[in-house]
Amino acid sequence: MNAPQLTPHAVGLQVRGLRKRFGAHEVLRGVELEINPGEVFVLMGPSGSGKSVLLRHLIGLEKPDDGEIRINGEPLDSDGIMSRYRMAMVFQSGALLNSLTVGENIGLYLSEHRLKPPAEIARIVAEKLEVVGLKGIERKMPNELSGGMKKRAAIARALVIDPQLILYDEPTSELDPLSAVVIGEEILKLKERVHVTSLVVSHDRDLAFGVADRMAVINEGRIVAIGTPEEIKARPDPIIQRFLQADFKPNHRNHP
């Protein structure tokens, strides 16, 4: 991480008119989004609004039906772009390879691309595990971990890539509040230390308002609001306000 050639320059992301349909269901209906280099951008929205599908497009796992995605102005589908920019995604489920140990999972990028000798990889893996609070679990298998531990291991695996852009799909959705705070702090630390650009999809309002430089709300495949957290909070739009203020109020039913 302190090797000078690895110092990442921040990348920005531009999304224009992105559309995607699965069968009869149009999931993304013209998404417009601009993410600035080095910022933490939070995307919120109800379940099924297309957040995960959008992330999958941004890392090249899905091909858009229409519209374009650019990284620092370069189209995402241009040749070799995936090897020129280091991007990582933390999947909602973690998506650790079940046949490998946690340590092998985290070191996979380095070992498969022969980027470091094994001893060095082991050191980096241990370091990243410590960062996410999972020190010493290298030898465990993914199915021995809880949902939250898997997610943190997945974050460690993303950090190993030393990414310029990290996409987090609901990074705190299965974590206890304490671990959620740790993840939020880690997102902020990464921003300051290596100037990484982060896109965080989350329902977790504490996390969202705690880490966001800017945020957007997506609903039914369209961005309905975008701005700083203060601007979003001040938006009168009922969709946004309902989403931001939804609270569990057990007494409502008794006192209509």
């Binding site: 999958r56 990582a88 995604m89 999947f91 998506a95 650790l96 691309h113």
Partner: protein, 245 residues
């Protein structure tokens, strides 16, 4: 079932293009190779012993009644080498190994592990398909050589022991060596190499196209095995008619 043939041919082609990566992936090839051997050696042994035995049992008495006792060894020998060992072992491997490949890759697909590989810029064909196809293409021909030998032994033991046949060990293998030459064994081994490619490609392809959770994995496994067996039998006919020319 044949709508996917084009995709499978494409996957096969991509796997061929990835062959230069084999050395890099050698550890995975070894792992898969030993897993195949481990999972199937005993079954190959039992199956081929009894296939050789039943061949002798069915043909021996008929031949002996007509005064052709001397032909038992050759008949068992050539059927085993050219047809039964390659086809039966390929079917066994489709059931035992092809199903496991489809299940493993299918679950990696469903649980987004393959997506995760792609985000790490790791090509799933290099990482998953190549080692499996190479390993099975190496392992099945070896298993078939072994199966041929065990099948012959099974045929010989039945010929000796069955009171309606009673051909000596020496006579059995004497005739076998007269009738079967190295080219016949090579013929069977070559066929098994082709069958191995079929099982490997069909199973990996089914794994990669799995959709829809655990039930999808089940469907993929079934399809992998059934499609492999159908293609093995069809290719067996095609290859045999080519090789007989």
């Amino acid at each position: 079932m044949f709508q996917n043939i084009g995709e499978m041919v494409l996957l096969f082609w991509r796997t061929l293009l990835a062959l230069p990566q084999t050395w890099r992936q050698r550890q995975k090839v070894f792992d898969q190779f030993f897993e195949i051997g481990n999972a199937s050696l005993l079954m190959v042994c039992v199956l081929s012993f009894f296939i050789g035995g039943v061949l002798a049992l069915q043909t021996g008495p008929v031949l002996v009644e007509r005064g052709l006792a001397g032909a038992v060894g050759g008949l068992v020998g050539i059927s085993m080498a050219k047809e039964l060992a390659p086809v039966m072992m390929a079917i066994l491997i489709a059931g035992r190994i092809g199903s496991a490949m489809a299940a493993e890759i299918g679950s990696m697909r469903v649980y987004q592990e393959i997506d995760a590989l792609r985000t790490m810029n790791i090509n799933p064909i290099h990482y998953l398909v190549l080692p499996r196809v190479v390993a099975i293409a190496l392992a099945l021909p070896m298993l078939v050589v072994f199966a041929i030998l065990v099948g012959w032994l099974g045929g010989a033991l039945v010929s000796i022991a069955n009171e309606r046949i009673v051909v000596s060990f020496g006579a059995f293998f004497g005739n076998l060596r007269e009738v079967v030459d190295a080219a016949d064994v090579a013929n069977g081994v070559f066929k098994s190499f082709c069958f191995a490619l079929i099982v490997g490609v069909v199973s990996c392809h089914q794994g990669l196209v799995t959709i829809g959770g655990p039930r999808g994995i089940g469907r993929s496994v079934t399809k992998a095995v059934v499609n492999s067996i159908v293609l093995i039998v069809i290719f067996d006919y095609v290859l045999t008619s080519i090789l007989l020319r």
